[in-house]
């Protein structure tokens, strides 16, 4: 910033003046206001975070059905589905991988829409958020005609949960930070 555009000694002089300034206390109402704002910024509402996640998942999850249908449900007629490849490992593994892909893509994409504080809180509350998101997804898929036994559904749940946790726990927060530092 300044350091780059101003001569170093000019910056140093200004900095020295700054460090020796006598303090003047800002009005109390301003202190209260700034501290309140900081508190709010550090603790964004869970409902806002989940809404963003849900919105992203609605879009990304739907798009993902083009490459990997879930329980045979897909609005696209691409004639291609990764689930066919996954089936080579067995039905159970296929369920886990499909669930993993379905949720992980949305969680990874949500990085682009959550600020660092929202992302931090999402990590903190990930079990609640993920369980709710997965349950909601499953209910939606059922609504659109998914037919599945509970034993396979539980494997799908497991895969989906791991798919949600993997980007949150396994990958660093640094990616979100890099995104913000480049803004």
């Amino acid at each position: 910033m300044d350091k780059k555009t101003l001569p170093e000694n000019q910056w140093l002089k200004a900095f020295n003046e700054f460090t020796t300034l006598d303090k003047i206390e800002p009005p109390q109402y301003l202190n209260d206001q700034i501290l309140k704002q900081a508190q709010e910024r550090l603790n964004p509402k869970g409902s806002v975070i989940f809404s963003k996640l849900l919105l992203v998942h609605t879009f990304v999850g739907t798009l993902s059905l083009a490459v990997c249908d879930q329980f045979g449900v897909t609005p696209f007629r691409t004639g291609f589905s990764l689930s066919h490849s996954f089936m080579a490992f067995g039905h159970g593994i296929c369920m886990i991988l499909c669930g993993f892909l379905f949720i992980s893509l949305s969680v990874v994409t949500s990085w682009l829409f959550l600020n660092p504080d929202e992302f931090r809180l999402m990590k903190k509350r990930s079990p609640q958020h993920l369980l709710f998101l997965i349950a909601l997804s499953f209910a939606t898929l059922k609504f659109f005609g998914a037919e599945v036994t509970w034993s396979l559904a539980s494997l799908w749940f497991l895969g989906a949960f791991m798919g949600g946790l993997f980007p949150l726990v396994g990958l660093p927060l640094a990616l979100a930070q890099t995104r913000h530092s480049s803004q």
Binding site: F15, P26, A38, N43, K123
Partner: protein, 190 residues
């Protein structure tokens, strides 16, 4: 991840700035509170020293801490905090001063076609930007706001009306009366 450290209020205040920033990055409001208490007074004094009125200095102080929050992830705790904060604040101060300068210029230019239509008014431009500001300040609040939105923001009467919760006709009257009053206050014939 975000476990509350077992620190007493006193221990918080004894932490170095750089450590406080690490806690702040991890979401601890106590860290922010200590940093705020430590530097708000000096920053406020710094802004006042640069000829900002108290209102401007308060706005800027608020902006500095909002920017600090947005930039906290970019801060590298291996670097000293205070020069970083100072650079950030100084940058915002310069921006603010530049913006204020632009606003004053724009205000005088925007009012020009309406106020400066005769010789006296030309004198007014050369002599009395300050007079203009003084005159503006004497108008009722609604007229001031309406004039600012009309000539500073270049808004339509409809948009101003919607912002101020009034009718477009009412806004036109405020603007018209405001302009007349400014002329009057600055010694022009109505």
């Amino acid at each position: 991840m975000n476990r509350e450290p077992l620190l007493t209020p006193k221990e918080w205040t004894q932490l170095e700035d750089e450590d406080l920033m690490i806690y702040y990055q991890a979401g601890h409001i106590q860290a922010f509170e200590v940093l705020y208490k430590r530097y708000s007074g000096r920053l406020y004094a710094y802004f006042l020293k640069h000829k900002l009125n108290p209102e401007g200095a308060q706005d800027l102080l608020q902006e500095v801490f909002a920017r600090l929050h947005r930039s906290k992830e970019q801060y590298n705790p291996a670097q000293p905090f205070l020069p970083w904060l100072f650079t950030l604040s100084r940058h915002l101060l310069f921006d603010h001063m530049k913006k204020s300068e632009t606003i004053v210029n724009k205000r005088s230019q925007s009012l020009e076609p309406h106020l400066l239509q005769n010789k006296e008014a030309v004198d007014l431009q050369t002599n009395g930007l300050q007079d203009l500001q003084v005159a503006l300040a004497q108008l009722p609040k609604n007229q001031q706001r309406a004039l600012n939105m009309r000539y500073l923001n270049d808004w339509s009467f409809e948009k101003i009306a919607s912002e101020m919760g009034a009718s477009p006709q009412g806004v036109r009257q405020w603007v018209s009366r405001g302009l007349r009053k400014i002329k009057h206050l600055m010694g022009e014939e109505i």
